[in-house]
Symmetry: D2
Subunit: 277 residues, 4 copies
């Protein structure tokens, strides 16, 4: 439905990651290979952390990424050590800025690819489960924003994997109560500006594609001639819906029902299991 990309590591110009690679994310907005939809032209968003500012900047627009000149300008002039980018293929909800990813809450960012099945049927039940103190901050009409608010309700800011597990648990329980066989399909990225979590899960056990980049050290050994690899730290990591570039050995599939954590230190990969909402 959508495609996304999360970068963490040595500060780079957004252009380096968003536009430069063959089959870049921007190229995927026109010609996705692995997505359910080949065109992701229903808006886009980019969110990045700037030096000395806790809250990320988020620029979103309803136009296709491929022809947006402002995105091109930003990519050419902004460097960041941690940024998200998302291109949207709407499954029917309105093409409006408040439905574009990433979503933000204080220093947190969230983006999603996938869907809550028959969202129209469960939207009200899920909305009622949102913390009343957060409810009025909902601005759009997507399942993705709803998932974010549910995760916030369940303590995202203190225990991201636990909160996401409870969110998924609630969505599955609610969907099944309505007779939906496979209530959720998702890859999700979430960050607080320091750590980055990436989830891959679907009720059916057949989730949307998700990849993480190979350790920089390993890649450097494989490709001693690639200049870019010499200029980034060992900690640099990319998580993507669909691999850009054409570097052999660079990409690894995130396993079904699992999540990864990227941060200063050895990254982690864990099994993901929904919890009771």
């Amino acid at each position: 439905m959508c495609r996304w990309l999360a970068y963490s590591g040595t500060p780079v110009l957004l252009d380096t990651i968003l536009y430069k690679p063959a089959h870049s994310l921007i190229d995927q907005s026109l010609h996705s290979r692995l997505g359910v939809e080949t065109t992701n032209g229903d808006g886009f968003g980019v969110g990045w952390y700037a030096p000395d500012i806790d809250t990320p900047a988020i620029v979103r627009d309803t136009t296709p990424a491929w022809n947006n000149r402002n995105l091109r300008e930003l990519a050419d002039h902004i460097s960041s050590p941690l940024f998200f980018a998302h291109i949207r293929a709407s499954t029917g909800t309105a093409v409006q800025q408040t439905n574009c990813h990433p979503f933000r809450h204080d220093r947190w960012m969230w983006m999603h690819n996938g869907a809550i099945t028959d969202f129209h049927q469960v939207r009200r039940d899920l909305a009622l489960a949102i913390d009343p103190g957060l409810f009025s901050d909902i601005e759009g009409s997507t399942d993705s924003e709803m998932m974010f608010f549910l995760a916030l309700t369940f303590g995202l800011e203190h225990d991201p994997p636990g909160a996401v597990a409870r969110m998924v648990g609630l969505v599955e329980e609610t969907g099944r109560r309505r007779g939906v066989e496979y209530p959720i399909q998702m890859t999700v990225a979430v960050t607080d500006g320091r750590r980055l979590w990436a989830f891959r899960y679907s009720s059916q056990g057949s989730s949307r594609s998700l990849y993480y980049s190979t350790q920089v050290e390993t890649l450097r050994a494989l490709h001693p001639d690639v200049a870019f690899l010499r200029h980034i730290s060992d900690e640099t990591r990319l998580v993507v819906s669909e691999p850009p570039g054409d570097l052999p050995g660079a990409w690894n599939q995130v396993p079904e029902s699992s999540y990864g954590v990227v941060y200063q230190g050895a990254d982690e990969l864990h099994v993901f299991t929904p919890a009771a909402g």
Copy 2:
């Protein structure tokens, strides 16, 4: 906050009403005189009934009305016997198409000027009062759309004045429970394509301006030289936030706490009293 206009009568080019008059609605988007805001540049909408089609066409955009070329094109080429037009001044909610008026449900259209006070505080309570079968059709984030859905929940399609009275009653009751002194401020227009209802009410008894045009017959006697008046039927009526044109004797204020009904036959003016939600 906004300005609106509702026309019912002899089919005319939208241009005749929207652009042609001195101080027209489109001019008011730049320079309103009676509004709380002098600029109404946060989007617009126009809705009209076409021959042999029950459901109105609704075109809405997030740009200012004054510079929108597509609106100009439509106004120059579309005639209708019943149409709404609305220019928006956002009080903070997102500038997006789904927050632009008029709103539609089947053959019904709704538009609003005013606000639910401290909407952020009561949004959830009001949302829960919406018919669960309608809840998922909410697309935007405005108080105006919420009011429409509450009115639909309370039977708008069968008894518009009764449903609006219950909607207002609920908003006042909910607001007061939260300590809001004057919970609602509104002028509302609603139509099913045949009849047109216009409401003016505020909890404070100091409502936004609302005017209706003088009977065509009377106007013709006053202004025998005005060609336009000779080409429209006796039944033609305009209801507006702010009078366009400069025809003496043409405009009458809708009294506080009242509503009017425009339809084939003698129009009506009634007292409006909120009812228990």
Copy 3:
């Protein structure tokens, strides 16, 4: 580069032609089969003649056609006996309303698929050839609008085939002077609201696809069960970049280097030869 459609005949809801058919023009905005680009998401336009108004209405927007709700509204509510629709795939020029087709001059409309090769190199020379009285009306930056203004300069309003022939002649002569081997590639539709001309030509003799619909009478005999065909006049004709629908026998390729004329009476098909500009 783009796709377009021109309809002339019995007044129909735009929806009937733009959205209803399998592989409709709107569907082609996401998934074109015959175009150089598979996605035509860089804006769209629709122009139609309304009863008793000489000048066509033209609505254009920079968003993809497939997700534009206003286009959907218009298609559902506007009928016309003669309309154009165009979806754009920019080859680099800005995505802006004034670069969207159709273009208009008084009662005339013009739309184009193709390109002037190396337009950047010949733009100034061509601009100088435009009638000085028309020059300042240029609003955009496309080769397509330039072609329109050149055709107007060469007498489009009096002799469309002659004016288009001289326009093409000038473009070829100018391009060749700059060392361009194949200076032009085009399918063009032009109308004055009564007649419709459609041109297919390229310097290389390998032009973009263009089709016209089979005579209604013949189609009715082939498909006696298709209700739509019983409700349209014998004179009804469609010219398209890429056939919508799946009716066997419905579509005929416009031959290379030729143009057709659609009007009240027997339609015509002629050889097209560029003339000295």
Copy 4:
């Protein structure tokens, strides 16, 4: 017609200058006091230099500045030592990104408030005077962009005051040949990323307003309590169409027919005289 602001000095968040002051530029987009138009809602632009990149970033949009969330995001997260901001009130030309200021050529930025009188009449003559090698880079339809391209033609990159003088000379000569009494009205800002030139001139000798900020040292003495002044260098300077803020002694009118230069070292103020085009 428009309002603009140019900042040079200690790197600051754009927010500090664009949003924070009372009667800020963003506020002027809704409520200008000194402009010919009180509303400047026909698009905006912001251009800034980022560290280690010669070419400025330019973000422009066709929406009003006051409700644009992306501008708000950028202002909250981007710091720059030299930036331009512009809000537009169109005098008829299309509201499109390519008509928004600032304009860019390599490392140069240009923005303008004012108009070439009867531009429609002289547009072709002026276009012909543009260096043929630059002609095809024109993207929009404004007089402002034309002035920029003429100044580039006349050597802007080597001698900005001389090139602007010749541009104005040509516009006046061309206009007068067409019977225009007062051919130009302008305030212009131009920069190469190091120096900033600001021009105020009109053929009538009654130019649009333009102000420059008082020397920081002097302001500090006047307002020892204003924290902001302690955090910026002595070299910091602001040039604006209309003063934001309410600091007594902060603003000085640029005299009629003059231009200033802001750069590292003592700034300059000179008489401006048009030269033969």
